[in-house]
Amino acid sequence: MVGEMLQLARGALSLDTQTFVAQREARDAFRKGVLFVVVITLLAGSLSFIVSTVKGFLPPKWDAQRDEVEDRISQVFKFLPLEMDAETERMIVGSIEAGLDIGFEIAQLPTPLPRPVKDFLQALGGWVTAPLLRLGAWMGYAFWVLLVAKLLGGRATLSQMLGCTALYVAPQILTILQVVPCLGPILAFVAFVWGLVIYIKATAVANELSPGRALLAAILPAAVLIGLISLIVIPVVLLIIIAAVS
């Protein structure tokens, strides 16, 4: 099973057409796909899980953590395109400072469950939750991509579509290093783009579509979703701002 997983991962990462075709033709394509998503997601989160657990046994460095958070907030402020007067800035900065006080004071409160046990259970919960969330997102999105692909002449069954698109998760193995400062976000971005390319290839092979049509099928549901959110959220935000100003 491990050998098969490795072969699938290698084939997906190198965009090997034969791997995608074999996955499409497999009788248990969906079962393999689910297993692949679960294993890769657990592997990708394993280091983070271990680090979080170990951190629970070390004495917390509240001051260093607070400095780090304040540094990040000041970075965000630097890039804000808004110009604000001194009074507004005082209000915002004062509120953020008080908010941080609240957060750090609560974090330092004692809990009935010892901190290492609590941190271990929380890390374990996050580690187990990650594949469940990814499975839900992958399956939910694949339905809509399959619908668009079918409208564009695609021929995949649901099982074939899910079996092939599951391979998109292969580059997520890079995010095992997400705990490394600076490198983590870069690797996450690389994994996202690489995964997108694999997803488009998988859609093309599963549905026997041209790359152009597969690209359209893969991104149209996301574009429609973003469009709908913009149509609803932007007017609501504007209304709130107008109401607040008036």
């Binding site: 008080a98 609240i102 004071e105 259970l121 929380q122 374990l124 399956m139």
Partner: protein, 251 residues
């Protein structure tokens, strides 16, 4: 029973043969009923045993009174508070809003306050969870039958009961919720939708498009019915809670 469990596992992984075998059984309804009964009991047990996880989560957060005091004190240090403290009316409003929001949201973060509270929550969740799986299956099958027939499907009601029972199998994912801090999320519902599509397509031998619409429309109508039922139960409960107070006030 072994056959049904084997078919349930196959159906979970969208194995077409599992749905076809269930469709062609002599009495798919009774076979499906057995599977749904097992899964309903399992879901109920998960809700009941899940109180252990809830209690563990409850003891991993600090005491509510301490947190409340810190939040309130922190809010009073904010610049906007310094502005409103000069106005007694604004101060009264702040106090009211703070207490109201705390009452409304505290339970979400601090969990059940006692074992008794957790047990009541667990029993309620078990009863509602178990019944909702069972009733949801019955209503979904009826709706799917109606929509599939409208779209030209050829299957029998017995068959769709059997095959949609197989589609209940993703509910076993709720077992993961037994672990504290694990969020199962919408995976069971999404997976069930895929299984229901397979069930509708297999039973009625519809094209993908018609099977898709029969599946999705049934899900939408079931969602609307559930929402209406939820609202109805909410209104009746509110009425029953308010009635004694109104009567007492009147007397």
């Amino acid at each position: 029973m072994q056959t049904v469990l084997r078919l349930g596992v196959g159906a979970l992984f969208l194995d077409k043969d599992a749905y076809e075998e269930m469709r062609d059984l002599e009495n798919p309804f009774s076979q499906g009923l057995g599977l749904v009964a097992i899964i309903s009991v399992l879901v109920a047990l998960v809700a009941l045993v899940g109180i252990v996880g809830d209690l563990v989560e409850g003891v991993s957060v600090p005491k509510e009174e301490q947190v409340k005091a810190i939040v309130k004190e922190g809010l009073t240090r904010m610049p906007w508070y310094q502005e409103i403290r000069r106005d007694p009316k604004s101060m009264r409003e702040f106090e009211q809003q703070f207490e109201m929001n705390w009452q409304r949201n505290a339970a979400r973060f601090f969990g059940p306050s006692s074992f008794g509270g957790a047990l009541i929550g667990g029993i309620t969740g078990a009863v509602f969870g178990g019944f909702s799986v069972f009733i949801g299956w019955l209503i979904y099958a009826l709706l799917a039958h109606a929509f599939a027939q409208m779209l030209g499907g050829q299957g029998a009601l017995q068959q769709i009961f059997g095959c949609t029972a197989l589609a209940v199998s993703p509910q076993i994912l709720n077992l993961a919720g037994l672990l504290p801090f694990v969020q199962v999320g919408g995976i069971a519902g999404t997976w069930m939708l895929a299984c229901n599509y397979m069930a509708v397509k297999t039973v009625y031998r519809l094209s993908w498009g018609r099977a898709f619409w029969a599946t999705v429309l049934s899900q939408i109508v079931l969602g609307i019915l559930t929402t209406l039922l939820g609202c109805g139960v909410g209104v009746v409960s509110a009425f029953l809670v308010a009635l004694p107070m109104v009567l007492k006030g009147g007397l």
